[in-house]
Every structure is written in C-alpha cells, then in structure tokens.
C-alpha cells in the first residue's frame, strides 16, 4: 500500500483493507465473479480503463470528499504502474520516480506494513516501471507528501525538513515522558503527608501545580521526580537504575549531559540522528503507521546516498494537506 496524499493510498491486489473506501481500476476477474461483492467492499468507483483526465478528476474527488477517510485505489499491475507514474511524475523527475518505484515495488510484492491478509489476486510488480510520460497536475500542487522524503532531506542537512520530522516525531512520541508518568496520578496520594492530603489543599490549584511540577511531561528522563523519590523513600533511584539495573557505574557524566533534555530535543538529537537511528533500525517508523511509510526506503535513507531526491518538488512529509 503506497501513500499518495491525504488518506489516499495506491495498492496492488496483494492485500486488501476491507474497511476502507475503495476504487478499483483495471481487470480483476476474481472480483467480478464474486457474487457477494456489493456486501464485501465499499466501492466508490470501478474503472475497466482510466485516462489522465478521469484520474485527475478522481484525485480531486477523493481530496475533496474523503480526505479524512481511508481510501485505497486497487489496481491490476498495468494500471498500478500507470497511476503510480502519473501521480509521482507530478512531484518527481522521471529518474527519481524510477528510484522510488524500486522501493515501493518491494513493499507491494512482500505486502510489508499491511495488516490485511485477504488478497483478491496475488501479483508481482515487475522490476522495470512501465508507466506514462504524463504527469498529474493535482499531485504537482501538493505541498506535503511522504515523510520518508522529508527524512531523507533532513539526513542531508535540510533544516526545514528536519523541523518537519521533529514535529511529526514529537507528536508520535506521545505520552512518553518516561518513568512513572502512567502511574503518577495513582501514586500521588502516597507522596502526600496527612497534613497535605486535605480537600482544601487538593482543590487549591497552586498547591496541585507545585506538586505536579515534579512530573513535568516534556522531559524524556525523570530528572525531577528522582529527587522526590529520594526525599520520600530514601532511595537513590538513579544510582540504583544505572548501577544495579544497567551495570553502568560511570553514569554521572552521561546523566549530567542529558538530564534536562526535552522531548523535542531528544527526537532531534537521537531519533533523527543518523548514527543513532542506524544503530536502532526503523526506530522512527515503529512509532508511525506503516501504511504511510515504506520501511525499505526508510532503511536505505540511513545507509545510502539519496541525492536523487534533489529534484524532489514537494518539500515535506505525509500530513494531510488540508490538516
């Protein structure tokens, strides 16, 4: 399933996401013979053949009417290559479309990142893209598209692309201030003395704010809570964590360096750091939706030259352009 725009994807018939709006293009003999077809899928349109004008109209309709609903365009091999090249010709030079296709072809053939197990007809996309010379006006007007492109550009020093990835990852890296955040609310009563645990105190915003500050959520590490733990429980959590649980005696310099790191900085410094990301392969995609990312391409970005993206016409990642 290849991400195109908004919530619209292009797919072969190797894996079918049943609970989505669907458009079927090309010849699908098995599908035509299915007597339960109307009850099985929510098909918006079916085309035996489609041309540039009709495709352009289709993209616009999906963008206008179904931008927040997952919509998948299912094609036979021939039409997959046609729609693929027509769409990406609008945003990439011809040679870059072929480069991108080499990754996307593998994703389709191996059904990577799609949780659906149902197939209508299993096909193998050929190595060589035989598409069209024409290009979509609709796609050429997009301002955002696949996150991998932004990531590749960020790896190559593009500041805007980096910021886009940082914003995206920060958002995905949700609810992750680390230690105790999940249980903090439940554990708070244990940290309050009898004198503090009164309705007057608990309904006093200032008191609550001062108390809750120790669980500040924009931190990756629990640098504030550990002092409280030591104060309340007479337990040196950091010493314990590093020396006992992780067998790292020389932890203090490392801690001092990153103790106050914010979530945004953490994403920027580690998740989007090429060396770190290489050592933790697919770390970023793991937080994402594989539907909209090609992990083979992603991995390649970390290890190979992606200079061919220089000619990419669209700046950033996968967000809904209307979002």
């Amino acid at each position: 399933m290849i991400y195109l725009f908004d919530n619209c994807y292009l797919s072969t018939t190797n894996s079918i996401v049943e609970k989505s709006k669907q458009i079927w293009i090309g010849s699908h003999a098995k599908l035509d013979r299915d007597p339960m077809l109307n009850l099985t899928y929510d098909i918006l349109h079916s085309y035996k053949e489609i041309n540039d004008d009709e495709l352009e109209e289709l993209f616009n309709e999906i963008h206008e009417d179904y931008s927040n609903i997952k919509t998948v365009i299912y094609c036979d091999v021939e039409n997959f290559m046609y729609v693929y090249s027509y769409f990406f010709n609008g945003v990439l030079e011809e040679s870059a479309v072929k480069e991108l296709y080499s990754f996307d072809r593998l994703k389709e053939n191996y059904r990577i990142g799609v949780f659906a197990t149902r197939d209508v007809e299993f096909v193998d996309l050929p190595k060589t893209l035989k598409g069209t010379d024409t290009a979509s006006i609709f796609s050429s007007l997009l301002t955002t598209t696949r996150i991998e492109i932004a990531f590749a550009n960020a790896m190559r020093g593009n500041e805007d692309a980096l910021q886009f990835c940082v914003d995206r990852a920060t958002e995905m890296y949700d609810g992750s201030p680390g230690f105790w955040s999940k249980d903090a609310e439940q554990n708070l009563p244990a940290l309050l003395s009898d004198e503090e645990f009164t309705i007057a105190n608990l309904t006093n915003n200032e008191f609550i704010d001062s108390f809750v500050e120790q669980f500040e959520i924009d931190e990756v590490f629990p640098n504030k809570i550990v002092d409280k733990i030591k104060e309340h429980f007479d337990f040196d959590y950091l010493e314990h964590y590093f020396t006992v649980m992780n067998n790292t005696t020389e932890w203090k310099p490392m801690w001092d360096q990153d103790a106050n790191i914010s979530k945004q900085k953490f994403v920027e410094t580690y998740l989007l750091n090429k060396e770190f990301a290489s050592g933790n392969q697919l770390l970023f995609p793991n937080y994402s939706n594989f539907d909209s990312i090609n992990p083979i391409f992603w991995n390649t970005i970390l290890h190979k030259n992606t200079a061919w993206l220089d000619k990419y016409k669209v700046k950033n990642g996968t967000y809904n352009q209307t979002n």
Binding site: K19, N68, K70, N187, V212, I217, H232
Partner: protein
Amino acid sequence: MLHLYNSCYAYPYAMFDPSSADYIVVGDKHAILGAGVENSFYYNNVFIHQCYARFKTYEDFINSNLLLPAFSNKQKFIIYCDNETLIKLFTAKLKSHIQFFDNSLYFDLAKLFGVRLKIKSKLIDSSNKEIINDLGDTFIELNSIPNVNKFPIDPYWVWENAGIEWKVANRNCGVPNNHINILNDLVNRYVYSFFDEAQESYLSRKTGGWAVDVNNQRFSTVASMKELYMEMRKEIALFTDPLILQFFETGVTEELLNDPKFLLLVSNDKVDTWLIRWLMRLPQSKITQLGLIA
C-alpha cells in the same frame, strides 16, 4: 476514568476509542457515537471492538438487563456517556456502598475524584487533557446530588464485588471480608510484574521449581513468593524494597495499611488510591456509622 466494578469503566464521550474495549453508549449521543468508525483512517489497522447496546438515558441503561453483565465483565468494558450520566453513575455507586448515605462525604469524594482527574490531565501528554480537566472541574464544583438511587443490584453482589478501597475501610467493622487475601494477591502480583524474565530466570532455579505449574504461567502458582522475591533481589532490588520486605516479613498489618507508601504496592487501574487514602483517614466510628457495604 470512573471505575465501576470488575473491569467496567465509565468514560466521557470525548474519549471514545473503539480500539480499546467492548462498549455501550448512554445518553444523547447514543445513536451516533462510533456508528461510522469502520471507515475511519485512524481505526483501520486496529481491532474495532463491539458496541453492545445504545441507551438513550441513564435510566434506560440502569433498568436494562445489561447492567449486571456490564458490571460483571472481567475483560475491560466501557460505558461511554455524557457528563450527566457519568455523575449519576458516580452517585449511584457511592449510594450502593454507603448504607447510611452522608451528603458531606459525598461532596468530599466528588471533589477528590475531580482532583484526581485534574491531576491526571496535567500528567498525561494527550489530546484528552482538556476533556479530563474539564470533567475534573465538573466534579469539584458539584453542589447538588443527582436524584438517583443505588444500583438495582443485590447488596450481596455489591458486597462480593466491592473494590478493595471499601473492604479495607470496612475491615474492622465485624463484617467478614477477605481484604487480607486481596491485598496479598495485589502485592504479589506487583512484585511478580517487575520481572518479565522471572518466569524463565528464577522459577526454574530451585530444585523442583518455584512454581507449581510446569510452565510457570501464573504467579498464583508460585509456591513461595517470598522465597522467589529473595532470590530475585539478589540481582535487582526494587525502590520500594523496604516496604516489600516488611510485607513479606509481617504480612498485611495495620501498620502497613496505614503507611501511605503501601499504596504504591497496591495501586493499579482498579484501585483508587485517592479514595482508599481518604477512607483510611476517617475515624472508625464514622466508618461504622456509614454502614459500608464491602
């Protein structure tokens, strides 16, 4: 959110998430909430749980034959509802547990629940922050008690299924309850849960094994949690170690129950540590006077 009984919770509409658990919808949005989720981008790659029923009003739900099955569910089950229904559920639950209802205690507990929600909203990094915070304000500002009765459920069922909060509060009132066993169970689970590898790393070390079942699938089959813990702590100690040691030394005692830190050991989704702490502070005479059903 609001824990009712077993694995049944009430959530506000705005926190609707059909990927989380089977559910019912109560209130003015009963006909529309979740009706079209099967076509949503956001729920495409997750399992969508079933909506069992939709009730127009709180009363429709309370008088339905789904009340007891919902409250008895051992798998997570959610009642999505409007604020009015949520407050009614909160009230009916308190009335079900407090035989001689006390208005001032009701408002204290409503404030406590509101505070809990507000603190939760400050601590989570989520788009639900504002929703939870506003709901917290609603409970804190409650100044009247909804006109609802206790749940139409056999008091014996309530006594059997009461949360540990009520059982601990009621422990010295001459009504038999098994709070010691439940607390033992909670702490043992807590200790056991710290070590994913415990089943493989520790359970097979002792001659004959630590566990009664050959695959060590369940902590409850561990022959001696104390011995297992002592073995584990040779390598990894927990930050609540002194408290756990005390627990294994003495069992659940009054001293331990009155130590606020003990809440760290028993807290989980279904144990309201705020409520338990509050009830523990009430004098014994007050507990007796309330006639808790626990």
